[in-house]
């Protein structure tokens, strides 16, 4: 009897374990198909030989990475020098994305704070309003942005009409236009996590700070910001990462001079000029860079948290 009871008990545990395995299976399958497989494919393609007009030849080659980092002259027979073209594009992507992130933070933080401090039944309304522009396709939004910003566009008309400027500002085809485009594309990704953090914030802490003679600015810097830092961090990542790989805004608003890594990759796969292994290699470099930046900031974050306590 005792043995029977014991085996019964272990059977329940087994069933539970088994059920857990089966229940987790869909998640694993989805992850494998949607995340692991594409990245793995990209990794493999980046080490293959290119076929002209797109496609690959299944032959191992380091040519794609070589092309990305080294310059061997027009005919490939000179001693290798560092190839700056793509590294420059990369570098530009990083700081364009960083500028867009800062811009989003500067606008997104006050917006999120504003929403979080409305009355409880007004907050969902404001969040809803924030998302309305995003019902329109990104391409359409970016094109309209271009129309708004161009030399004869409404923005310049307005500024000239109120007499602020005499001649139109040339915004389109500058880095700033790209930053504006990226900012506009990803602003909600900044607002929503910060909003969630500020909404959870205990405003009695701000009162306590004011009670202890802190100015509004000091309260923001020393009490509110540390408390909502995880939300700010999440927002920055959610804006920075897609900004870095974005190609619509740089293509449409930046012109040929302000090429970003997303456009470079897009070009390798689209149309006839394609070089799939090179595009895959550039993607792998982008992925690695993003991972390094994320790991670095996560470590900084952890360090700051530890130093704080």
């Amino acid at each position: 009897m005792a043995a029977g009871a014991a085996s019964g008990g272990s059977a329940t545990t087994d069933t539970y374990k088994e059920a857990r395995t089966w229940l987790l299976l869909p998640a694993w399958v989805t992850l494998s198909i949607l995340v692991l497989a594409p990245v793995l494919m990209m990794l493999i393609y980046s080490f293959l030989t290119k076929e002209f007009r797109g496609g690959v030849i299944w032959e191992f080659s380091l040519a794609a990475y070589d092309q990305f980092f080294f310059d061997r002259g027009l005919f490939g027979d000179e001693p290798p020098k560092i190839e700056w073209t793509y590294i420059t594009i990369f570098w530009r992507s990083i700081w364009q994305a960083a500028a867009a992130t800062l811009l989003s933070l500067a606008i997104g933080f006050p917006t999120a704070y504003f929403i979080a401090t409305r009355s409880e039944n007004m907050r969902p309304v404001w969040v809803f309003l924030i998302t309305i522009p995003y019902w329109v396709n990104l391409l359409i939004r970016t094109v309209s942005m271009k129309f708004l910003l161009r030399d004869q566009g409404p923005l310049n008309d307005f500024l000239m009409n109120i007499g602020l400027i005499d001649s139109p500002l040339h915004i389109v085809n500058t880095n700033f236009a790209v930053q504006l485009g990226l900012f506009y594309s990803y602003l909600p990704f900044m607002v929503l996590p910060i909003y969630a953090a500020v909404e959870r914030y205990n405003f009695a802490l701000s009162e306590a700070a004011a009670d202890l003679y802190a100015s509004k600015w000091t309260t923001l810097r020393r009490i509110l910001l540390p408390a909502v830092k995880p939300g700010v961090f999440a927002g920055c990542i959610l804006v920075f990462v897609p900004s870095m790989g974005s190609f619509l805004a740089p293509d449409l608003l930046g012109g040929a001079k302000n090429f970003m890594i997303g456009s470079l990759i897009e070009e390798q796969f689209k149309g006839n000029a394609g070089n799939w292994p090179f595009g895959a290699a550039a993607s792998m470099v982008l992925l690695t860079m993003v991972l390094i930046i994320l790991m670095f900031s996560a470590r900084q974050q952890a360090k700051a948290d530890k130093a704080g306590g």
Binding site: E207, A210, L212, Y213, A214, G308
Partner: protein, 369 residues
């Protein structure tokens, strides 16, 4: 002469609330309150939740604007000063300690904001933590401390910048009974030691009686009675105060006659009582009377002329006392409390026994409404 009086007022009155009104849209949270809180006083705002006591405290701290009237701090109007410019500090209900700072940094925050150097602020904060016996926790985070410890940190943090007035918003409500009792004594002690005016908000009448120099009893946005704990307890002004503070026998009476400052009152069932007359209660008025149960005692024969005859219904043992429920002949029920230490002098009757309920002249109190 007037000038002199004003000067001494300026030094003696810590907080002067003059005809202060607070409205939120249509809702009036405070209806024209005036009160003066003296320098170096332990002053309590007492009332049930929603009576406006916290609103008044927040108006003094600067978190709420005054709709009408004015508040003066040692003679200066403070309405236009934001909270961070008012030399008052608050101990918040849920402490509101800064979670990302150490205990020491929490306490040092106010001092730093007042322009003290970091080292000076830390040194002073260390002393404050010693005062509340938490020195060994100075490097910890608030979340690593118990509720009682957090409470004491909040206290140290609010006292560190040496405010002119310390505001305490139900600071003990989150603590368990034993800790609360200990903290009550500690708070009272701290107030004497620092000489800072304390304004304490609570809904716990026992807490208020224990700690306060004076108590303002509030209800529905109005001041019901202002006085020393003994005043409030022994001489409640109206029904609300008598009922809210302590336990009492509330009886409907009609005033039959007033003579020489004494009022003769009819209890119903033929029982009569004499008590001190009160302003605002005239002959013929039907009002309530409050008699504290511990002011009553029982005897086999009437001791004073107006011993009330009745029968014991039940005796309840409650540790320090015995509570006896008495039914007067054709009259109301009475609760009589006899302290266990008094059992040598005072008699306890078995249920069903006939006896007389007696009291001294001052024990019964007529209430205005």
């Amino acid at each position: 002469m007037l000038g002199e009086a004003q000067l001494s007022d300026k030094e003696n009155i810590a907080i002067d609330v003059r005809d202060a009104v607070k409205r939120y849209g249509d809702f009036t949270a405070l209806k024209t309150i005036s009160l003066s809180i003296m320098d170096n006083e332990f002053f309590t705002l007492l009332g049930p939740s929603g009576c406006g006591k916290t609103t008044l405290l927040r108006m003094i701290a600067g978190f709420e604007a005054v709709t009408e009237g004015a508040i003066y701090l040692y003679g200066d109007e403070i309405e236009n000063l934001p909270p961070n410019k008012r030399p008052v500090n608050t101990v918040f209900q849920n402490y509101a300690l800064f979670p990302h700072m150490t205990i020491l940094d929490n306490v040092a925050f106010g001092l730093e904001m007042r322009g003290k150097s970091k080292s000076e602020a830390r040194k002073k904060s260390g002393e404050m933590l010693e005062l509340v016996q938490l020195s060994q926790f100075s490097a910890r985070k608030p979340s690593q401390l118990s509720g009682g410890q957090q409470q004491r940190v909040a206290l140290a943090r609010a006292l560190a910048p040496q405010p002119k007035v310390l505001l305490l918003d139900e600071p003990l409500s989150a603590l368990d009974l034993k800790l609360r009792k200990a903290m009550q004594l500690e708070l009272k002690h701290l107030q004497r030691e620092t000489g800072i005016t304390f304004i304490f908000v609570t809904h716990d009448q026992e807490e208020a009686l224990t700690m306060s120099d004076r108590i303002a009893v509030m209800s529905a946005g109005e001041l019901q009675q202002l006085g020393a704990p003994t005043d409030i307890y022994e001489r409640p002004h109206n029904m609300f105060v008598a009922d809210f503070i302590g336990e009492t026998n509330l009886l409907e009476v009609s005033v039959d006659g007033i003579d020489n400052g004494r009022a003769t009152c009819h209890l119903g069932g033929g029982h009569e009582l004499t008590c001190n007359a009160v302003d605002g209660v005239g002959v013929g008025s039907k009002v309530h009377m409050s008699i504290r149960p511990e002011r009553l005692y029982m005897s086999a024969e009437p001791v004073e002329t107006e011993g009330l005859h009745g029968r014991v219904k039940d005796n309840i043992f409650v540790g320090t006392d015995i509570t006896t429920i008495v039914h007067l002949d054709e009259g109301p029920d009475f609760v009589v409390r006899t302290s266990n230490s008094d059992r040598g002098n005072k008699r306890i009757f078995e249920p069903g026994a006939e006896m007389f309920v007696n009291m001294e002249l001052g024990a019964a109190r007529l209430l205005v409404d």
